[in-house]
Amino acid sequence: MSENRYTTPTRNEAEISVFGPGVGECIVLHLGDFEWMVVDSCIDRESKRPIALQYLEKIGVDVTTSVKCFVATHWHDDHISGAAQILKACSSAQFVCSAALIAEEFLQLVKLQSERSFMRNSGVDEFIQIFEELISRSPDVRWQTVGPTWARADLPVLRLLKTDRSIRAEVFALSPSDAAITLALHEIGQLLPTPQAPKRRAVAQTPNHVSVALWVTVGNLHILLGSDLEHFPDERLGWKAVLLSPTKPSGRALVVKVPHHGSGDAYCPDIWLDLITPNPIALVTPFASGRKPLPTEDDIKRIQNHTSNIYCTGAPRGSRPQRLVSPVERTVREMVRTRRVIQGPMGHVRMRYPLGMDGANPTIELFEGAKQLT
């Protein structure tokens, strides 16, 4: 199957490609008419490049002109790695991020973190490079690409309505709600250091209130990209706020990128009834980090209640680490409770769908360890 991997979709063929190496995700969408959109970013372990750029270049897309929009759904490390490189390469792309990130608290955090070198890059580090790239773009020449476009619930993010386009393509933000933005500001404020505090790396510990969930319409195809949006009892937050919005988009999604790696925290039964078609195509990226790597077996069973078409970009449990020299291996076994490699091969699930044809069947292809969850 891999010999067909690097082929370009036709003008009237929508594509959603979901990539995930174990921790991290990236989504590449063909919006018809050879125009593309990228949502989030992760790095290919072998090439050390953002997978979106690598893939698009291999299928012959000129990223400087054909990528119209790049969305960073939130600033957590697993969604933003390599985002600045994407934005730099996709020089015509409009940059979209959560409206919560316009807050001075976040920009202050960005400034503080950029002055420290840490063992690993963080999502905050990535943002300083993104902002530098945006500022370097001349507003006189390409004012619409300076941005960012600050996404918040119930606002359009992208409309491709050129008269020469044969297919309507629109992207709409479902979140964050106003209440979520307020909470996110509080969360970010908590990460700001005080005088005499050690210069540690900022590590997000709280729910993903800033996440931008997206509704994508390409011709007659609707796609729900759930980002890491979670489910809360409070109707002003998360998926409840989306469902109660009077301006939520009409139609039902045939394809859903399952929110937050299929976790129970992000499971809202009503979105499967109100926003998604029965037996949809569910795309999942694993999150191999943490005490309970996602999706768990319970998570998969829960999604299976709604569909039999679940595709995951890789093994949820990470992989076995390399064996160490004998005395070290013995010591490590005595000392650590769990140990695993969290980044594996860059799994890729691709769905292509012919637009404008009633009853058309999507084509699903799986690459590099991606698999159907049964």
Partner: protein
């Protein structure tokens, strides 16, 4: 002529009839040619031949040995040269705490012995961290984890794992104020229309 190094005590006991005892350096971290002793001073015969290593130590005074041979120099020993058991590192990681609970740490570790190895995530008991370092164990904190053999001065070998946390510098009010001002300027640039 090779340098000969003695402990103060040894010098006092053996003055007038100096016995050379060249101690193996190497794992202790002392400059080549300088051997560690528990005492705060070293007596070095013909210390000039130590070259750069010698210059790293502070000469206290130079005396002439009662045997009438080469001058002896009394050197202050920086604390890092004070001998302890010898630790042979077999494996070293740099780690960063990504989560912590009452009894457990979760960390990402990078293999410093084989840098091409992929990052790993490990969990271990908080008890593995020394009491003095536990206050530093917070999300974002960086530590170094070494596994190896410790050879005691008495010649006994023990397999050992050590975790040491990096002492990070602290934020100053001035730095925080500067970041606040820069954030305001950045915001002005980003929201321009």
């Amino acid at each position: 002529m090779e340098s000969e190094i003695f402990s103060t005590k040894q010098f006092q006991e053996e003055s007038g009839n100096i016995q050379s005892r060249v101690i193996d350096s190497g794992e202790s971290g002392a400059p080549e040619g300088i051997s560690p002793f528990p005492s705060g001073f070293l007596i070095a015969q013909n210390a000039e031949s130590l070259g750069e290593s010698f210059s790293e130590l502070q000469a206290k005074e130079t005396v002439t040995g009662s045997n009438g041979h080469s001058p002896l120099t009394v050197l202050n020993i920086p604390s890092q040269f004070v001998p302890t058991n010898r630790f042979q590192v077999l494996q070293k990681w740099e780690g960063e705490i990504i989560g912590i609970s009452a009894d457990e740490c979760r960390a990402v570790v990078r293999n410093m012995t084989s840098p091409e190895a992929p990052e790993e995530e490990v969990t271990f008991s908080i008890e593995e961290i020394s009491e003095s370092d536990r206050v530093l164990a917070m999300p974002g904190a960086v530590f170094y984890w070494s596994v190896g053999y410790e050879d005691s001065l008495q010649g006994q070998r023990t397999r050992k794992s050590t975790i040491r946390f990096r002492r990070l510098p602290t934020w100053t009010k001035k730095e925080l104020n500067k970041a606040r001002q820069e954030a305001q300027s950045l915001r002005d640039l980003l929201v321009r229309k």
